[in-house]
């Protein structure tokens, strides 16, 4: 059993509550930076993919896990970030400016969209965001002049002050770029959580009435959450564009939106860890399945819908048996060890709640 004594309020405010956690995350960071020397190019590419999905997951987590607004349209914002970045660079803006700007632009568009959309609750919000995702596809085709339409676009090589980064020929450089963006986004997320705005997000999620009574402006807070969420998602989109090497109207489809939402549910809603755990599942599942399939039915046999089907199955099992996701399960296991031998089975029992009609809200 590990006990730590808090001696000042700073203990609760700083990033890592004690030396133990600090050393764990410190070594994780060292490992992350050493990874290009430990893995071959194929697996490094896969890890890069995990990180990009994790960034997108953080973006959606801020909105869904923290503020309680489910979005089934975040692929649209991946697309906006991706296209904004590519088009800015084509216009001659250097990457170091274009990339942050692409995220900020996505965030601003997000805020504009949020104003009408976030007045909606529950399923209506889900439907409106689905419509967004479907519309994004069509709009990309319609704005062919800028977006390249169906034939798509190829992002140019990244240069930062003459230093070149390319996904295929220099996978470790690209990995470091993605890693840095991941760390920055995670820090932003973590900082928001420990400051007034993050608490306002949680307040809006859990009770809009009492949040209002405490002086939280609901619409403005949701708008900020949506904007920040879209900004992070936009960055992930830009990186996805580089990772894929080419993209068109179908790259960021409704299925991506849905996958993203399912990913954070599987990972565990409302936690940074959840975004990362979920990203691992999303990025490695196709590989694992193809290896499994090759061994069972032999390679060369295509089973359409296998990935989404298995993914759906995993999600159903999680919602039924572990609604808190992988992170929730992880917490339970950790607590069991920390409290050993005093952990009780009922410690995490959920309270029964009864549904009341949305129509009267």
């Amino acid at each position: 059993m590990r006990i730590h004594f808090k001696t000042s309020y700073a203990h609760d405010i700083r990033l890592f509550p004690d030396r133990w956690t600090l050393s764990i995350y410190g070594s994780l960071l060292v490992l992350a930076f050493a990874l290009p020397y430990l893995l071959d190019e194929f697996f490094l590419g896969e890890v890069t993919n995990v990180l990009i999905w994790a960034i997108a997951g953080l973006g959606l987590m801020l909105l869904t896990g923290q503020t309680g607004q489910a979005s089934l349209g975040h692929a649209a914002f991946l697309a906006i970030g991706c296209y904004a970045n590519t088009i800015l660079i084509e216009q001659g803006v250097p990457f170091i400016i274009a990339f942050p700007l692409a995220g900020i632009l996505t965030g601003l568009i997000g805020v504009i969209i949020a104003i009408p959309v976030l007045r909606l609750h529950g399923i209506y919000l889900a439907i409106a965001t689905i419509a967004l995702s479907v519309l994004a596809d069509d709009i990309i085709v319609l704005t062919e002049h800028w977006s390249g339409g169906v034939s798509g676009k190829f992002p140019e090589m990244i240069t930062i002050f003459g230093f070149e980064i390319e996904r295929w020929s220099m996978p470790s450089r690209f990995y470091y770029l993605v890693l840095v963006v991941t760390i920055i986004c995670t820090l932003f997320y973590r900082n928001l959580l420990r400051s007034p705005l993050g608490r306002a997000f949680a307040a809006v999620r859990d009770s809009e009435v009492s949040a209002t009574a405490m002086g939280v402006h609901i619409a403005r807070t949701k708008g900020k959450a949506f904007g920040l969420s879209c900004m992070i998602t936009g960055w992930a989109g830009a990186l996805m564009g580089y990772y894929a090497g080419t993209f068109n109207n179908e790259t960021f489809s409704l299925v991506i939106s849905i996958t993203l939402l399912m990913m954070i549910v599987i990972g565990g809603l409302g936690s940074i860890h959840g975004a990362f755990f979920g990203a691992v599942v999303v990025a490695f599942l196709p590989q694992a399945l193809s290896i499994l399939k090759d061994n069972v039915v032999g390679s060369g046999v295509a089973i359409p819908g296998l990935e989404t089907g298995v993914f759906g199955m995993i999600l159903i099992l999680f919602i039924l048996f572990e609604p808190m996701g992988i992170y929730g399960r992880w917490l339970k296991i950790r607590t069991w060890f920390e409290l050993f031998p005093f952990a009780r089975k009922d410690m995490f029992r959920r309270q029964k709640s009864y549904l009341k009609t949305e129509r009267l809200r």
């Binding site: 405010i13 400051s195 007034p196 949680a202 859990d206 009435v209 009492s210 009574a213 405490m214 959920r350």
Partner: protein, 255 residues
Amino acid sequence: MSLLEIKNATLKFGGVVAVNDLSFSVEEGEVYAIVGPNGAGKSTAFNLISRFYEPFAGTFTFDGNNLLDREADQVADLGIARTFQNIELFEHATVLQNLLVGRHRHRKTTLLEEMFFTPRVRREEERHREAVEEVIDFLDLQPYRNKMIAGLPYGVRKVVELGRALASKPRLLLLDEPASGLSVEETQDMRWWIDDIRKQMGITVLMVEHDMGLVSGVSDRVLALADGAKLAEGTPAEVQANPAVIEAYLGAGAV
């Protein structure tokens, strides 16, 4: 001038008159209680003050400010905090986080500062934490500080909600049935707290309550409502002795 002054407030839901031409005022530093049978319009009066409902008619003045000029989220900035009849806490957050939300009106930092967690944000956070710790000490919430609301018993939730309202350092505290559902001991604690809130913190209290023991124990003045209109007003003893009040509570012929 009174701290809170309500004149001729009227509100209708469809054809039902919830509050009918109601006028009362709360003086700085007093504990003012509203009593009345179910459906008398007590909670509605609260929701009018919190600006959750738009009145049909009437004036609402708090410390010289016209409340009707404010949106519901701006009421807290004036220094009005409230609790709810059916506890409205942030379920998936800890007690500490709930109380810190109470500090929302005192925040000074901007989105950008918070994203980078500048030293100013850190200082502010420590300041908020100190203010919240005072409330935790006052209400003896230390054992629950890092517990999730979702697992707490009803009595504690009630106290946390009081704490969240206190954390905002209000001038006027609205308590919607602070003792409902509490045990005898818990009600006794609540009584002492309300006394101390007024005496030590100098906060004016306006409460809706059914428990006449608590009402007569802590309040300076009592307003009895029936069918949305004023039935009687005065000291607890005066109101309890008022024949109209007895009739409204117990039915005709009980006197």
